[in-house]
Structure formats: structure tokens, C-alpha cells
């Protein structure tokens, strides 16, 4: 497990990281998200000790790495494997040689290096590319090699620094699947630093939002996506663009636990209240350990709002936002969801 506490990094009078506390338990996947300039890359570089923290501690399995120096620090670095953005493979080494590099630099005997490299390449599904050079590999393949290299020294923590940035969605998905498998098979703790919400939704157990060098929001991904009142939950499950509500209809945004609520709730609630509900936009997603639905409905004029709300609550839905008697203007696809207007 990795425990970061009170981590601060300043350059002169500029504080880039301000008292970061973050813990990822054994075999969990933690994610740190944030906009560019929030301090994500500095956080990544401080966690793998490329930058020395101004203050605070980074402990892996209870051992504070910031207190070490020289050869002790080099040995302790084995505990944190890093997967870099765009893989950072050596261009003049083959895939296998890239994976072997940290092993050789730590004095692992040749026959063991060969065995371990074989094992790692097999694990990331790249055995058939062992003797290829990075320029002969696709971005996703390069990143698989980068992951294999990150795992070479059997670290207890794998730090993924924007490892899927710049990859296409399918490749991102395959890399995330690989990371999750590695966690499940090897029990490695993974800390993902990313600006992509898809990544968080796809693999993280815990999420923290970094903004201006501070962690402003955090929680289990399952809880955050079920919640409705935070920037993080809205960012994690953005509503798709809604069609305009029929004339006179009011728009309501709802959120619910899709595992617990009957999939027939639209018809059921409509029957109970005696009206047809218009579905303007909907999203039902299985994210890690939670199935969450977000829906924008149009409520016909004359419907008793209190009765409708009561019926929705009885069925297990949460009313996030409602607009009173206001026409929703059409908007171009791609703009933020209905909540921006509602």
C-alpha cells in the first residue's frame, strides 16, 4: 500500500502541491484526476521521487521513501514502478531489452533476466513482439512494454502517469483491462494519475480530485458516481445532450442505482402518477462496482410535482435538479448536459 501524507512541493514561493494526503490500500486502484495545471505531473514526479518533496512523506508498505538517499533510495525505488506517458521506451533497444533494462541495472543475473522478461512480455501479451524496436510498435503496444518494464522489479506500487493519454479509446480500454488484470493477478497497488474521466470510471476503486495543488474531493468511485452533488460525480457521469422538452414540459434530472431500481420504472412511475414521462436523455452505466443511471425527463404541465417526486423516491430514484416551467432550448450536441440549463 502507498500512503502519502502532508505532501508539499514548492518551487521558490510557488506552491505546486499543498498538503496532499492520499492512501491507496493493497491491491486497490486509486486515481487522481484534475485539469491541466492542477499539479498532476508534479505529483507523479514527486511520488516516484524524481522530485524531492518540500515536506511530507511517501510511505510504501510503511517505509518512508523520502527519508532515504543514495544507494538506499535506489534500492527502495524498486517498490514503485512507473508507467510513463507515451511509454518512454529507449529507441535503440528492442522491446525485450527495454523490459530487461531495470533488471540489468539492479544486477539481476542474465539467466534470471531472460526468464523474467519472457514472463513479463507474456503477461502483457507482447511475447510475439519481443525483438521489435519501439518504432515498429503501435502506441498501445509500446505502452504494454512500458507496463512490463514498470513491473520488472516486482514493485508493490505501480504509478501510471497519464499512461493512456494519446491512445485511442479502444487501446485505452485494452490498457485499462490489462492494469486491472495485473492488480487482480499480482496484487499490485496501482495509482493512476490522469485527466481522463473514462479511465477513472473504467478501473479506479478510489478517486481524488486535484485542483490548484490540493485534493478538493475524494471518495470511493462507487459512492461518487451514485452521489449527485459534487463536481466529481457530474464529471464522472456526464449526461448526454438532451433533446428539447415538449412544449410546456418541465425538465427534471434524476439519478439512480441501476442495480436496485426496476428497469421498468419509467412506465411504473408514469402509471402511478397518471401521466407519461418524456425521456429526453438517458445514461445507464456499469462502472466498476456500481450501476448508475442518469436521466433527464420531461414532466407534462399539470402534473403534481410532489406526487411525482414521492413516486420517484419510492422507486429509489433521486431527483438531482428540476426546472420549473421553463422551456429547454435546443443546443448543439457535445455541449454539457441538461443540468447546465435545467
Amino acid at each position: 500500500m502507498i500512503e502519502i501524507s502532508g505532501l508539499t512541493k514548492s518551487y521558490g514561493s510557488t506552491t505546486v502541491l499543498d498538503g496532499i494526503d492520499l492512501t491507496v490500500a493493497d491491491a486497490q486502484i486509486g486515481a487522481v484526476v484534475g485539469p491541466s495545471g492542477a499539479g498532476k505531473s508534479t505529483l507523479a514526479r514527486t511520488i516516484n521521487l524524481l522530485e524531492r518533496p518540500t515536506s511530507g512523506t511517501i510511505a510504501v508498505n510503511g517505509r518512508d521513501l523520502t527519508a532515504l538517499s543514495g544507494s538506499e533510495l535506489r534500492a527502495a525505488r524498486r517498490e514503485i514502478g512507473t508507467v510513463f506517458q507515451s511509454a518512454n521506451l529507449l529507441r535503440r533497444l528492442t522491446a525485450a531489452e527495454n523490459v530487461a533494462l531495470p533488471l540489468r541495472h539492479h544486477g539481476v543475473p542474465d539467466n534470471q533476466v531472460r526468464r523474467r522478461v519472457h514472463e513479463l512480455l507474456e503477461r502483457v501479451g507482447m511475447l510475439h513482439r519481443a525483438n521489435h524496436y519501439p518504432s515498429q510498435l503501435s502506441g498501445g503496444q509500446r505502452q504494454r512494454i512500458g507496463i512490463a518494464r514498470g513491473l520488472a522489479l516486482k514493485p508493490s506500487v505501480l504509478l501510471s502517469d497519464e499512461a493512456t493519454s494519446g491512445l485511442d479509446p479502444d487501446t485505452t480500454l485494452s490498457i485499462l483491462t490489462l492494469l486491472r488484470e495485473l492488480r487482480d493477478d499480482l496484487g499490485v497497488t496501482i495509482l493512476v494519475i490522469t485527466h481522463e474521466m473514462d479511465v477513472v470510471r473504467g478501473i479506479a476503486d478510489q478517486v481524488a480530485r486535484l485542483d490548484h495543488g490540493r485534493i478538493v474531493e475524494r471518495g470511493a468511485v462507487a459512492d461518487v458516481v451514485r452521489g449527485s452533488d459534487s463536481d466529481l460525480s457530474r464529471a464522472l457521469l456526464p449526461l448526454p445532450p438532451a433533446v428539447p422538452a415538449p412544449a410546456g414540459h418541465r425538465t427534471w434530472s434524476l439519478r439512480y442505482d441501476a442495480a436496485a431500481v426496476s428497469p421498468f420504472w419509467v412506465a411504473q412511475v408514469g402509471r402511478e402518477v397518471g401521466t407519461d414521462l418524456a425521456v429526453l436523455s438517458a445514461l445507464v452505466e456499469e462502472t466498476g462496482r456500481a450501476s448508475v443511471g442518469r436521466v433527464t425527463i420531461g414532466v407534462a404541465p399539470g402534473v403534481d410535482e410532489r406526487r411525482l417526486e414521492q413516486a420517484l423516491i419510492t422507486h429509489g430514484l433521486v431527483v438531482e435538479q428540476r426546472a420549473t416551467l421553463r422551456a429547454v432550448t435546443p443546443r448543439t450536441p457535445g455541449t454539457p448536459g441538461a443540468e447546465a440549463v435545467a
Binding site: 514526479r45 516516484n48 521521487l49 524524481l50 533510495l73 535506489r74 534500492a75 527502495a76 525505488r77 524498486r78 514503485i80 514502478g81 512507473t82 510513463f84 507515451s86 518512454n88 529507449l90 529507441r91 535503440r92 533497444l93 533494462l101 531495470p102 540489468r104 541495472h105 539492479h106 524496436y133 519501439p134 518504432s135 518494464r149 522489479l153
Partner: protein, 223 residues
């Protein structure tokens, strides 16, 4: 009148052959010194810079200054300037040994900058890979920095080698021997046009062949 004293063509090889051998020997010795000293000097210049693995301002400025010094003087001036040192070192101020010292000084200074440039082209992120993985600085320099810079170093080596052949010809002026000496003494001083022509052909052929091989090597080494 001038053409009359030209060496007859059949006699040219007996003059040119040994001269070529001397040039090869001189340049080979100089290039060995150049790589042996210029490479570490270049690595030191880069790695003590703010972008390097062990930034050290004072050391960087000093080494950089020394390297610049060696490249400041036109070769002819440098040759004359180091004559006292040559006298102490080799006990002579003319001939083969006299050319070694100024050529080595100019070459080492030149190659140190070529090395610095080549390793500067290695992306910083690759050094971070080594640092984050717990490699020692020495391992990073040899296993990552130099390894990745090989094509750039080979390209730079080719340029340096050709420059040294050029310098060896200038060193002909102080009687260093070699193709340059032949061209100066026969071609220039005695208006021996055949020798001049032969020297030109040989020098052009050598330079073209070296550049061609260097380019091929760089292409083969680039992945």
C-alpha cells in the same frame, strides 16, 4: 616550363602511397585521443549543465570554457601557438609529432561539443526512466544516454574525422608528412601539377568514402 618538372605519372604512386600511409597513421592516432578525451569531456559538459544528471555550475562553466578555448583559434594559429609545448613534449617542432598535439587539441575540443550535442538530443524522459527505476548515474550515462546517442555520435565522429584529415593537410605546412605535406611541397612549392592533382583526387575520394560510410552507419544504427 612548369609542366616540365612534374613527376611522371608512373612515379606518382611511389610518392603518394607512403604519404597516404602517414596520413592514415596520423589521423588514426589523433582520432583515438579525440574520442578517448572528447567523449568524457562532452558528457561532463552536458551532465554538469542544468539539463544534465549532475548540474554543477562552476564545473560546467570551466569545462565549457576549456572546450571553447580549443576551438577559438584557427588551426594554423593553434599550430604555431603550441610549438613550445610540442618542443617540451616531443623534443621537436617539426614533423609527425609536431602535428599530433595541435590536432589533438583542436579535435578533442571539437568532439566534446559534438558529444554534448548528441547526448542533449536524448529525451529527458528517458533519463527519468533510469532515475525512477533506481539506476545509478553511471548506468544512466552508459546504458541510456550514450546508447541512445550512438547515431548522433557516429554522425559527429564522421564530421570530426573529415575535419582531422583537413587539419592533417594544414599540418603539412610544418612538415607533418602525409598527403597534405606532399601537396604543399610538391604541388605548391614545386608546381608539380601531377602530384597536386593526385593529392586532390585521393583526398576527395577519402572524404567522399568516409561520409558515405558514416551516413550508412548512422542509418543502420537508427531504430
Amino acid at each position: 616550363m612548369i609542366a616540365l618538372i612534374s613527376t611522371p605519372w608512373p612515379d606518382v604512386p611511389s610518392l603518394l602511397g607512403p604519404a597516404l600511409g602517414e596520413t592514415v597513421r596520423l589521423v588514426a592516432i589523433v582520432m583515438t585521443v579525440v574520442v578517448a578525451l572528447g567523449l568524457p569531456l562532452g558528457l561532463l559538459i552536458f551532465n554538469t549543465s542544468p539539463l544534465g544528471l549532475a548540474p554543477h555550475r562552476l564545473l560546467h562553466v570551466s569545462v565549457s570554457w576549456i572546450s571553447n578555448l580549443g576551438r577559438s583559434l584557427p588551426f594554423l594559429v593553434l599550430m604555431a601557438a603550441v610549438i613550445p609545448a610540442t618542443k617540451v613534449l616531443f623534443g621537436t617542432t617539426v614533423g609527425f609529432q609536431a602535428a599530433l598535439l595541435p590536432m589533438a587539441i583542436a579535435g578533442v575540443a571539437f568532439f566534446s561539443r559534438i558529444t554534448e550535442n548528441a547526448v542533449r538530443e536524448v529525451p529527458r524522459e528517458l533519463l527519468d526512466v533510469g532515475l525512477a527505476g533506481g539506476s545509478t548515474r553511471w548506468q544512466i550515462v552508459t546504458g541510456i544516454q550514450l546508447k541512445e546517442a550512438v547515431p548522433g555520435l557516429v554522425a559527429g565522429f564522421t564530421i570530426n574525422l573529415i575535419a582531422m584529415i583537413e587539419y592533417s593537410a594544414i599540418a603539412g605546412a610544418i612538415g607533418s608528412g602525409g598527403v597534405g605535406y606532399l601537396a604543399v611541397n610538391y604541388g605548391y612549392r614545386r608546381f608539380d601539377q601531377n602530384i597536386m592533382l593526385a593529392c586532390i583526387v585521393v583526398l576527395v575520394a577519402i572524404v567522399q568514402a568516409l561520409q558515405f560510410s558514416g551516413d550508412r552507419a548512422v542509418r543502420a544504427l537508427t531504430r
